[in-house]
C-alpha cells in the first residue's frame, strides 16, 4: 500500500478541477498550471526512483484487496511512461503559452489539458482492465475537446471521424472485456494472467487477444486502422498536436505491450506472429504516406504511424533484447516526436503556413531553429550517435538473431525512407533564398518559442550519448515485463 503511486494521477486531476473553478482568471491559470506540471514531473521522477529502489509499488483503492478491488500498479515500465508523459506535458504547456490564442485559453484549455494527462497517466498505472477502459475514456473525452477546440470547418469534419472511430473502439473494448470476464471471472490484470495460464482454451483466448489487439491497435494507429490519424492530428494547433503525437498513440502501444507480455503469452506462436506482421505493414505504409506528403505536420503524423511499427516489432520478436529496444524506442519517440511537432508549430508561427512548398530559406534567418531541427530530424531517422540509432539497432539485431529477415529488411528500408522525408522537410523549409522579409518575422520573439523545445532536443542527444547506461536500464525494464510472475506476485501478494 503506497499512496505515492496515485500522485501522477491525482495531481493533474485536482489541478484540472480547480482550474474549472477559476476559469475567468487566465493569468492565474497560466501560473498555476506551470507550477502543477513541474509538481507532476517531480512526483513522477520520485516514483520512478522509488520503484527502482524498492521494486513494484501497488495501491488498492478504498482498501479493497487485490483481485476484488481496483489496484494501481507502478512497475518500471509504467512509471517510465509516466515520467515521459510528464516531460512532454511540461514542454507542450510552455509552448502553448506562446502560441495559443486567447479564446482557447478561455474555453477550458488548461483544465482539459490536465484531464488528458490524468487519463494518460491513469492508463499507464492501472492494474485493472476495466479501469483501463475508464482511464481511456477520460483521456479520449479530453482529447475530443482539445482536438475540436477552435471549431474550424476542417477540425469539425476530421474530429467527427476521430470521435466515431474511438467510440467504436470503446464498444469493441467493452465486448472484449465481457469475453475475458466470462472466461476468467476477473478483471484484475494479474489475476487474469494467473487464470489464463490455467485455462486450456487457446482458441477462445486468442479471440479475446485479437479483439483487444484491434481495440488498442485503433488507438495506437496500427495497420490497417491508422487512417484516422494523419488528418485529425493536422487540425489542432501545434502544442496540442505535439501532446497527441507524443502521447496518445503510445498509450495504445503501452496497452498492447502490457497485455501481450502479461496476459496473452499462452500462444506466442500465433499472437506474436500476427503482431510482427502488423508491425511490418504499419511501418511500411506509414512511411510511404510520409514520403508522399508535402506538409510539415502531415509528414510528422505519418511518421508516428511508421514508428509505432518499430515499437510493436520489438514486441512481436518477443526476446528480452527486442523488448528493451522497443522500450528505448518508445522513450526516444515520445521525446523526439513532440519536439518535431513543436518545431512545426514554431515554423508555422514564423511563416504562417505548414505547406513545405511555401517556405524557404529559414536557415539564414533563424539558424538556431534550423540546426536544432536538423539534430532532431536525423535523430528520428536513426543516424548515430543520436537516440534514434540506438533504439533501432537492438531491434534489428534481435530480428537477425530470430532469423526474421523480412522484418529486418522492411525496418531498414523504412529507416532510409524516414531519412529521405526528414531531409525533404529540411531542404524545403531551411534551404534556398529567404522568402520572408525582415519585417514579417521581426516581431516574433524566438527565445520563448525555442525554450520549451530545447530540453527535448537536449534529451535526445543525452539519450544518444549516454546510450550505454540508458540501454541497460531499459534491459532491466524489459526483464521485469518479460517475466509476468514478478508483476503477478507484486499485485496479488498484498
Amino acid at each position: 500500500m503506497n499512496n505515492i503511486v496515485l500522485l501522477p494521477v491525482l495531481i493533474p486531476f485536482i489541478a484540472g478541477t480547480l482550474l474549472i473553478l477559476f476559469r475567468h482568471y487566465p493569468r492565474l491559470q497560466r501560473i498555476s498550471s506551470g507550477i502543477v506540471v513541474f509538481l507532476l514531473l517531480f512526483s513522477a521522477v520520485f516514483l520512478l526512483y522509488l520503484v527502482y529502489q524498492e521494486g513494484i509499488q501497488t495501491i488498492a483503492l478504498g482498501n479493497w484487496p487485490a483481485p476484488f478491488g481496483i489496484v494501481l500498479v507502478a512497475d518500471l515500465f509504467s512509471v517510465l511512461m509516466v515520467v515521459l508523459s510528464s516531460i512532454v506535458g511540461v514542454a507542450c504547456l510552455f509552448f502553448a503559452y506562446q502560441t495559443l490564442s486567447k479564446e482557447r485559453e478561455k474555453y477550458f484549455f488548461y483544465p482539459f489539458y490536465f484531464f488528458l494527462l490524468t487519463g494518460v497517466n491513469g492508463s499507464f498505472l492501472t492494474g485493472d482492465l476495466f479501469n483501463l477502459f475508464v482511464f481511456f475514456e477520460v483521456m479520449l473525452i479530453s482529447s475530443f475537446i482539445l482536438i475540436v477546440m477552435g471549431g474550424t470547418k476542417y477540425q469539425l469534419r476530421e474530429s467527427y471521424k476521430y470521435v466515431v472511430i474511438n467510440m467504436f473502439a470503446s464498444i469493441l473494448f467493452l465486448v472484449a472485456l465481457a469475453l475475458i470476464y466470462g472466461l476468467t471471472g476477473t478483471l484484475n490484470m494479474a489475476h487474469i494472467a494467473v487464470q489464463v495460464a490455467e485455462l486450456e482454451q487457446a482458441g477462445v483466448l486468442n479471440t479475446a487477444a485479437i479483439l483487444l489487439l484491434i481495440v488498442f491497435g485503433m488507438k495506437g494507429a496500427l495497420f490497417p486502422l491508422y487512417f484516422w490519424l494523419p488528418k485529425s492530428y493536422y487540425g489542432p494547433p501545434a502544442a496540442i498536436a505535439a501532446l497527441f503525437g507524443g502521447l496518445l498513440t503510445k498509450v495504445g502501444i503501452y496497452a498492447i505491450i502490457r497485455t501481450f507480455t502479461l496476459i496473452f503469452v499462452h500462444d506466442t506462436g500465433f499472437t506474436h506472429t500476427v503482431i510482427l506482421a502488423l508491425a511490418g505493414f504499419t511501418m511500411f505504409f506509414g512511411v510511404l504516406g510520409a514520403v508522399s506528403q508535402f506538409d510539415f505536420k502531415r509528414i510528422l503524423s505519418y511518421h508516428i504511424i511508421s514508428q509505432v511499427g518499430y515499437m510493436v516489432m520489438g514486441l512481436g520478436l518477443f526476446t528480452p533484447l527486442a523488448l528493451a529496444g522497443a522500450i528505448y524506442y518508445i522513450a526516444h519517440h515520445i521525446i523526439v516526436k513532440s519536439a518535431l511537432f513543436l518545431f512545426a508549430g514554431a515554423t508555422q508561427k514564423i511563416t504562417g503556413t505548414t505547406d513545405l512548398k511555401k517556405m524557404s530559406g529559414l536557415l539564414k534567418t533563424h539558424p538556431v531553429l534550423a540546426w536544432t531541427f536538423f539534430i532532431t530530424a536525423i535523430s528520428l531517422a536513426g543516424i548515430p550517435p543520436l537516440s534514434g540509432f540506438f533504439s533501432k539497432f537492438p531491434l534489428i539485431l534481435s530480428g537477425i538473431e530470430q532469423e526474421s529477415y523480412i522484418i529486418v529488411v522492411v525496418a531498414l528500408i523504412v529507416g532510409l525512407l524516414t531519412l529521405f522525408s526528414m531531409m525533404k522537410i529540411f531542404i524545403y523549409v531551411f534551404w534556398g533564398t529567404p522568402s520572408l522579409k525582415k519585417s514579417d518575422y521581426e516581431h516574433i520573439k524566438m527565445k520563448p518559442l525555442l525554450l520549451p523545445i530545447m530540453p527535448l532536443v537536449a534529451l535526445t542527444i543525452i539519450l544518444g550519448f549516454a546510450a550505454e547506461p540508458i540501454f541497460s536500464f531499459s534491459e532491466v525494464v524489459a526483464d521485469q515485463i518479460i517475466d509476468p510472475s514478478i508483476y503477478i506476485d507484486a499485485v496479488l501478494e498484498e
Binding site: 500500500m1 499512496n3 491525482l10 486531476f13 485536482i14 478541477t17 474549472i20 483503492l61 482498501n63
Partner: protein, 141 residues
C-alpha cells in the same frame, strides 16, 4: 392569442416536487440500497428540465441563478476531497469510514464518508445534464 399553459403549470408544480423529493430519497438511500448520487442526480436534473420546459428559460434562470460550470468543478472537488481525506489517516485513497450515531428526534443514523462523495457526484451529474441541455436549448441562431 396567448396560449394558456394553466394545466401544464399546475401539474408541473406538483410533479416536479414529487420527483425532487424522490431524487433526494434516492440520494440518501445510496450507499446501502439501490440509488446513489448518479441516479439521484439524473432524476433531479429531470425535474429541473421539466421546470425549464413548462416555464421558460428566463424565469427559471431567476429562480436558479447558478453557474453550472462552477457547480461541476465544485462537485468534482468535493468528491476528490473525500477521497483525499483517507490519505490523511494513512489509508489508501478513497477508503470509506462509517459509524452509527444517536441524533435527537431522528434516532440512530449512519454517517459515512461515502455521503459527501455521493454529494459531489450528485452535483456533477445535475450540472452536466443541465449544462448540455441548456446549451442546446439556448443555441438559437
Amino acid at each position: 392569442m396567448r396560449t394558456n399553459f394553466l394545466m401544464l403549470h399546475t401539474i408541473t408544480r406538483i410533479v416536479s416536487f414529487i420527483v425532487i423529493s424522490f431524487s433526494v430519497y434516492l440520494f440518501f438511500a445510496g450507499h446501502n440500497a439501490p440509488g446513489g448520487g448518479f441516479i439521484g442526480g439524473l432524476m433531479m436534473a429531470g425535474a429541473l428540465i421539466l421546470l425549464y420546459v413548462s416555464f421558460d428559460l428566463a424565469t427559471i434562470k431567476k429562480v436558479l441563478p447558478f453557474d453550472y460550470t462552477f457547480v461541476i468543478g465544485l462537485g468534482l472537488l468535493i468528491a476528490i476531497l473525500t477521497g483525499l481525506n483517507s490519505m490523511i489517516f494513512g489509508d489508501a485513497f478513497l477508503t470509506q469510514y462509517f459509524d452509527y450515531y444517536q441524533i435527537p428526534f431522528i434516532g440512530e443514523v449512519e454517517l459515512t464518508t461515502a455521503l459527501p462523495f455521493d454529494l459531489g457526484i450528485y452535483l456533477v451529474v445535475i450540472a452536466i445534464t443541465l449544462l448540455i441541455i441548456l446549451t442546446i436549448a439556448e443555441d438559437v441562431s
